[in-house]
């Protein structure tokens, strides 16, 4: 029995049938790469290559290649790290939290969003590893290995170590979540293919046969993974925020950081999902699956999380004044009116003011404006981390240690490297993997498709 309401918009337009879903998604995997895809891939690999020069220089010469100084010991690297991790929150949020809230619109976007999550976390994880200086000597020191490996135990009191556990758990659980969702779709491609492709997708599909019993277990697994991944996704950015908030640096030590970082992460993650999905739906002609309705809903999430972030900014500012702690008060005044005022106001404009434009239905249902604003939000969120990190550090406790930070070409190059990596991985994913979860979308063709609505 299908219950329909006049208030629910169809999630799939164009009167699609189950067969159409299979066809529309699989044909990109099966067809020859398009010219635009090849050009995009070449560009990404090019960016990766250029960035690799900076990375190689950093690894060869050492961290001295970066613009860090004694006062500002953390700058672009950790800004980029937090930025990428934040972006990596949307995928699991969409697939886990929206699953728990039974939001069916997640189904068209969760596959690509999760892929984006995984690639963003890879980019993020690179920064702490690079910052080790010579990671080949002992990146394994971050793991709790016994003393015979040449070190003491790792320090379980350190938030940096909590991060090691949080990021690796998040990465591996997200990967498994994503892969389990991919198995039925790989089976679909396997059953349409011949020759080598059949062998490869056959292996990837793990021998999936679509039996009701397996589907039933699959759904149980998805539900529990969602239940586990929801607190996990909150914990990751919480622990990232602990890196700063457990310290005694004014501007870093503030108790609102955990939920505020999580909200900011969702905010930037959705912005990146929008950026990528708007391109993907266009290039792959998936407008009937990723509809304006989807874009509008994501924009609403951006308004909500952007406003939460805005409230957190105001709270921090107010409490800094209210606390009566001079150092705390100075840190915030310095953010807004000190030498890095432009970073602060860039952050405020991009993160707090620009998402409020989405209150207008015209703007949040406009593809072009959404695309522009999604990039604006991502710029804003990068500046947020820059403001928190560099502005709080550059006025040290001792005025004689006050300093400014300016990035070197190596700083920028390594950042560029992660962009190249991210887009290369995403383009490979978009070509060789089904970008939409066919099985899940098929399950709502009847209840949320256009046919029942008309």
């Amino acid at each position: 029995m299908q219950v329909t309401s006049s208030l629910r918009e169809p999630l799939i337009t164009g009167g699609k049938t189950l067969k159409d879903v299979t066809h529309d998604v699989s044909r990109h995997v099966e067809g020859k790469p398009t010219l635009s895809w090849i050009l995009a891939l070449l560009t990404s690999v090019g960016v990766l290559g250029v960035g690799a020069i900076a990375l190689a220089a950093t690894l060869w010469e050492g961290i001295g290649m970066w613009g860090l100084n004694k006062t500002i010991g953390w700058a672009w690297d950790i800004t980029n790290f937090v930025w990428w991790v934040g972006i990596g929150h949307a995928g699991t949020l969409i697939s886990a939290v929206l699953l728990l809230f039974r939001q069916k619109w997640r189904m068209a976007i969760n596959r690509a969003a999760e892929a984006m999550t995984i690639f963003a976390v890879i980019c993020a994880a690179l920064f702490p590893v690079i910052h080790m200086g010579r990671p080949w000597v002992g990146a394994y020191w971050a793991l709790p290995l016994p003393n015979t490996f040449g070190s003491l135990w790792v320090n379980f009191n350190s938030p940096l170590l909590w991060d090691v556990f949080a990021i690796s758990t998040y990465f591996s659980v997200s990967l498994v979540f994503w892969y389990i969702g991919l198995i039925p779709d790989f089976a679909t491609i396997r059953d349409r293919a011949t020759g080598l492709r059949k062998t490869i997708y056959g292996a990837l599909s793990f021998g999936w046969d679509g039996a009701a019993k397996t589907w039933f277990r699959y759904e149980a697994v998805a539900l529990i993974l969602a239940g586990l991944a929801t607190p996990l996704v909150l914990s990751v950015h919480t622990i990232v925020s602990f890196d700063f908030a457990t310290s005694v640096i004014p501007g870093w030590h503030t108790t609102i950081f955990p939920p505020y970082f999580v909200a900011g992460a969702i905010f930037s993650g959705f912005a990146m999902v929008l950026t990528l999905m708007i391109i993907t739906r266009k290039v792959f002609k998936l407008e009937d699956y990723i509809t304006i309705g989807h874009i509008e809903l994501m924009n609403i999430v951006i308004i909500i999380t952007g406003s939460i972030v805005g409230i957190a900014y105001i709270t921090e500012f107010f409490i800094a004044w209210y606390s009566g702690v001079a150092a705390e008060q100075y840190a915030f005044i310095n953010r807004a009116f000190g030498p890095y005022w432009w970073a602060y106001w860039a952050m405020m404009t991009c993160n707090v003011i620009s998402p409020q434009l989405f209150w207008f239905k015209k703007i949040r249902t406009s593809i072009v404006l959404t695309f522009i604003l999604s990039i604006v939000v991502n710029i804003g969120m990068w500046f947020e981390r820059f403001v928190i990190i560099v502005t709080s550090l550059h006025r040290d406790f001792l005025p004689s240690s006050w300093a400014m930070f300016s990035p070197t070409w190596a700083d920028m190059g390594v950042y560029l490297f992660t962009f190249g990596l991210f887009f290369t991985l995403f383009l490979l994913f978009a070509k060789f993997f089904p970008v939409i979860n066919m099985a899940e979308v098929k399950s709502i063709v009847k209840s949320s498709g256009e046919k029942v609505k008309k």
């Binding site: 030590h253 108790t255 209210y322 606390s323």
Partner: protein
């Protein structure tokens, strides 16, 4: 599944008569007796000796009563506004599952006008003993008890009047918040009734718009209310998380109250549309937000514990290292996290009334203790406690 014909008695009305009135009256009388008994016991227990030595800050029996009144004000005003918040949230999110139960949280809003009057009136009676910052000597530079830090915050309470005089800004905020909450409640109630009577989507759309505006207002006002009504009791202390902490506490208590009343009415044969799936969803909400509250509690605690900055950690030192409040902190965590978490973990527990009723009661009591822990140490010091 086939076609199911759902036969519901749409005309069912809740009749607040004898069978319901009696137990409620009994509880009311019992409460009154306990109140009088409590006052008498407190008066007898004295605190007389200290009067002489401590002067102005002496502990009187009525301080205890005042602290209790304040805890009640804030706690129940919170549950009332959370009812409206939950209702608005469901509309804003276009939720369909909650339609049969939405009138229950909405009805909580009926308490808001009373909560407003009681809170505002009682502020004038108990405020001076609850809020340290109301003492005018704190702002007098020549007074030996002058407090530079509180003087710095004075504008937040007294602006535009002179510090230490009449806290006009504080009072205005209190009045505005309560008035706005009550007005939003009335508007939503009207729209909700109209939506039932006139079968048109336009009411749903208008409710959604009003809900969205209310949510924005509530997002700001709940945080500021938390700073005003609770955080400023420990006047020196501050925590950026506090607004969200108090919201989490209110929210989970409100959810438990919704669940408890739903189950109660269901037992009495009302709410035919509500089936075990609705109950399950309420259970999931309680489970999830118990964890959320714990997350907020723990994050705030861990950061303060870890950084160990004296002006912040004093808040937890006062609580954890006190014989009176130390055990209560663990009771708080036990009732609001460990028990709900363990009991509601299985699917069956979230679908069966018995477990849910027990857990709702635990949470409602637990968060009362939570509020007691927020209010008492700053007002009663070593004279607090639950009994």
């Amino acid at each position: 599944m086939g076609k199911q014909v759902i036969d519901i008695n749409w005309d069912q009305k809740f009749d607040f008569a004898g069978t319901f009135k009696k137990p409620i009256m009994k509880v009311l009388v019992l409460g009154a007796i306990l109140l009088v008994a409590g006052i008498v016991i407190e008066m007898m227990a004295g605190g007389h000796e200290e009067v002489a030595e401590a002067g102005d800050h002496a502990y009187h029996w009525y301080h205890r009563l005042f602290a209790a009144i304040w805890v009640n004000n804030i706690y129940f005003a919170g549950i009332a506004v959370i009812g409206v918040f939950f209702f608005a949230l469901q509309y804003a999110a276009q939720a369909g599952w909650s339609a049969p139960i939405l009138r229950i949280p909405l009805s909580f809003g009926n308490w808001l006008p009373y909560a407003a009057v009681i809170t505002i009136v009682s502020y004038f009676i108990v405020g001076h003993d609850i809020f340290h910052w109301t003492h005018s000597y704190l702002y007098d530079v020549n007074d030996p008890q002058y407090d530079r830090i509180i003087d710095g915050k004075g504008g937040f309470f007294f602006w535009p009047m002179a510090k230490g005089s009449f806290p006009i800004f504080f009072i205005v905020r209190m009045v505005v918040f309560f008035a706005a909450w009550a007005l939003f409640f009335n508007k939503l109630k009207q729209l909700s009734y109209a939506e039932d009577l006139e079968k048109s989507d336009s009411y749903w759309r208008r409710t959604r718009t009003v809900s969205a505006i209310f949510l924005v207002f509530f997002a700001v006002s709940s945080s500021v209310a938390a700073w005003d009504w609770i955080m400023s009791i420990d006047t020196h202390w501050f925590s950026t998380m506090f607004g969200w902490y108090m919201f989490a506490s209110w929210f989970v208590a409100g959810l438990s109250a919704v669940t408890l009343i739903t189950l109660f009415l269901k037992d009495k044969g009302y709410l035919e549309m509500v089936n075990s799936n609705h109950i399950h969803d309420l259970g999931k909400f309680m489970f999830a937000f118990s964890i959320f509250w714990t997350y907020i509690w723990f994050s705030q605690f861990l950061l303060i514990y870890y950084a160990n900055i004296p002006e912040e950690s004093v808040y937890f030192v006062e609580r954890l290292q006190s014989e009176l409040y130390g055990p209560l902190v663990f009771v708080n965590l036990g009732l609001n996290f460990i028990l709900p978490f363990l009991v509601l973990m299985t699917r069956d527990a979230k679908r069966h009334g018995v477990f849910l009723k027990v857990v709702s009661v635990l949470i409602i009591v637990g968060h009362y203790i939570d509020y007691t822990l927020m209010v008492q140490p700053g007002t009663l010091r070593e004279h607090g406690g639950l009994v």
